[in-house]
């Protein structure tokens, strides 16, 4: 009936009831309005399964998600503004804490950008060490993804295995850089220190162990029916959706497009390494799992090639006005400047002393200009837009964080699915909120 004074009529918004007083059961003759009730659920920032301080406001009809809005900003640290008050080298310590699961990538993107602004070329050994560290970090980051993703879906053994395997990666990183996380090892001009003795043996052992762990993952998860059913056909995002939203990384490769910056717009000599870019054409969470595990295998191949190629050489550029002067080494009284370095600056060259002093206190100057440098982080394209005003401090650094961009796809992945699939979808995006909020 189209009479607007009738008790109920169908409209484009659904059934509309005109209530003019009277009993409810006479008004709603027929349909039960409770059936159409929508629940707004807040998966708050403190939640075991939202992968960090991510807040999801979900509208549910029963178990089906009709709307999903991610709210971020709970970890905003002001990293970018902080770097404007530090020298170019000190800014590394801030940027490394953005994406804290893969810190070496933040450092590498930033340092590559600074070196382009400086117009300097790195020595070969520094580039190889950077590549090796980044690939070890990629494997460690994917282990964290597997562990936390498994934890959120309920596969707790995936968590214990993932963290155990990650510990081995951190052992290697601790041997080389001195820290387990947030290394601040990759600096503008090269790397902070040379590889210590025993690195090659340790890394080769690590390669063997990691391959064994990956075999274990295959046995544990790949055929496991619950894991498969939780991930297959869940959270689909096709190539058009990824490109429209600017999503890069394993999500784009799982949708079918082999876009990997290491191959397409190479940096740090990646074009000279022999590795594949794994893709899958399903576009769902299962495809992302497959792609990430395959990427771990490829990273191991790259680390092997780096080890075969390492030759003795400098790890910092030769320019005394830019190269970080201190050579840390373990002495009888603890970690400090190496004795040769102290001898050189105190008893040898006056210029070396001046350079050391100026570089550590004032920092080097970067000619003015702006640059955008992107690297392929485990989560996607990590870009660093750097503006220099010619001084010793960055004028503006903006991190294009893949987690920030990829989380925009949460709504597209979640809407229409079940609420349990929201967890699996967010886990497959693999956001790190430190990078997302910076």
């Amino acid at each position: 009936m189209n009479d607007i004074y009738s008790p109920s009529r169908e409209t484009t918004e659904g059934r509309v009831y005109t209530v003019t007083g009277g009993d409810w059961d006479t008004t709603f003759g027929g349909g039960d309005p409770i059936d159409e009730e929508r629940i707004v659920l807040n998966m708050g920032p403190q939640h075991p399964s939202t992968h960090g301080v991510l807040r999801l406001v979900i509208e549910l009809e029963g178990e089906t998600v009709t709307d999903c809005r991610p709210v971020i900003g709970y970890l905003h640290t002001g990293i970018e503004k902080n770097t404007e008050f530090r020298t170019w080298t000190q800014a590394v310590t801030f940027l490394t804490r953005a994406d804290y699961v893969a810190p070496l990538f933040n450092e590498a993107a930033y340092c590559l950008g600074v070196e382009r602004l400086l117009g300097v070329e790195l020595p070969e050994r520094a580039q190889l060490i950077r590549v090796m560290l980044m690939e070890i970090n990629r494997v460690a980051s994917h282990w964290v993804w597997l562990a936390t993703g498994g934890l959120e879906i309920g596969a707790l053994t995936a968590m214990t295995n993932g963290f155990r395997a990650r510990e081995r990666c951190l052992d290697v990183l601790e041997l080389i850089t001195g820290l387990r996380m947030n290394h601040a090892f990759i600096r503008p001009g090269g790397v902070a220190q040379d590889l210590p003795d025993g690195t090659e043996a340790k890394v080769r052992d690590w390669l063997v162990e990691t391959r064994k762990e990956l075999v274990g993952v295959e046995k544990l998860l790949r055929g496991q029916p619950i894991w498969v059913n939780r991930l297959k056909d869940v959270g689909w995002l096709g190539v058009e959706g990824c490109l429209a939203l600017g999503v890069t990384g394993p999500l784009l490769r799982a949708a079918g497009l082999p876009w990997d910056l290491r191959k397409t717009i190479p940096y740090l000599g990646y074009e000279t390494f022999d590795f594949e870019v794994p893709t899958d054409d399903r576009g769902d969470c299962w495809a992302r799992f497959v792609v990430r595990v395959a990427e771990m295998h490829e990273s191991l191949k790259i680390v092997e090639q780096v080890l075969d190629r390492l030759a003795p050489g400098p790890t910092m550029i030769d320019d005394p006005k830019i190269a970080w002067p201190a050579k840390l080494s373990l002495g009888p009284d603890g970690l400090g400047n190496s004795l040769e370095h102290v001898q050189k600056i105190m008893a040898g060259s006056m210029e070396a002393l001046i350079h050391h002093f100026k570089l550590v206190t004032e920092g080097f100057r970067v000619p003015p200009g702006q640059v955008h440098q992107a690297v392929e982080a485990p989560r996607g394209e990590l870009g660093c837009h750097i503006v220099s005003d010619g001084g010793t401090r960055p004028f503006r650094i903006h991190l294009r964080e893949p987690s920030f961009i990829n989380l925009q796809a949460t709504s597209a992945l979640a809407i229409g699915g079940l609420i349990a699939d929201v967890i699996a979808s967010v886990a497959s995006i693999d956001p790190v909120m430190g990078g997302c909020d910076r």
């Binding site: 900003g73 002001g78 008050f85 429209a244 004032e362 200009g369 702006q370 005003d389 925009q408």
Partner: protein, 246 residues
Amino acid sequence: MTGPAGETPASATEQPAADIERVTPVAGSTVDSPFGVEGRGMFGVSDSGDTTGFGGLIREPWSAPAATRPFGGYFDEIVDALAAAYPEFDAAVTKIVVDRDELTLYVTKEHIRSVARTMRDDPALRFELLANLSGVDYIGSVNRFHVVYNLTSMTYRRQVRLETSASLDDPHVPSVTGVYPGADWQERETYDMFGVIFDGHPALTRILMPDDWDGYPQRKDYPLGGIPVQYKGATIPPPDERRAYR
């Protein structure tokens, strides 16, 4: 006080939208560069009483020089293709800079949305991916808030940068979410941090700071906001209030 290059401040009538070198120095100040950096002195000392000699340091104001043809590499193809595909090219693109192997096109803010659409859709350009959208605050410049769009063409494996600007009095820039939906959150972040209002954005709200926050934190005149740190016998001021090399 102007630097040796003799930059003249912009008159009120002609304000090119995307230029960053038009500076209006505050009367009596030594700021004469778009970065808001004092051109004279280091440590901020330049008057009598400074015996270090650092006060006499003069820094030339710098702005990216406009590039001349040929630009090199694939940059010429991009500019030619855009000029062919976009009829108002001369009005839209005010400056072209080639620096550090990167092409930057300074676009007026009225044209930025249509230029972005052309960059995305034209078969010779095909810049499908908006890699980065960030804001920069050139506090010494009239058109203070620059919005930088880094575009990547996956088809041709090229990268280009579009840059537009807005002033404090009129901080409106058309939104490109209709062209690149991935710009949604990035524009919200630029609004949150700099106060640039993107017209046509579906839901322009704060994203990183709490919703009721006052001020735009990453502007250059917003303080870093730290507190002094107390040690035994000394108090260290927060990083933005310490004496600094420039």
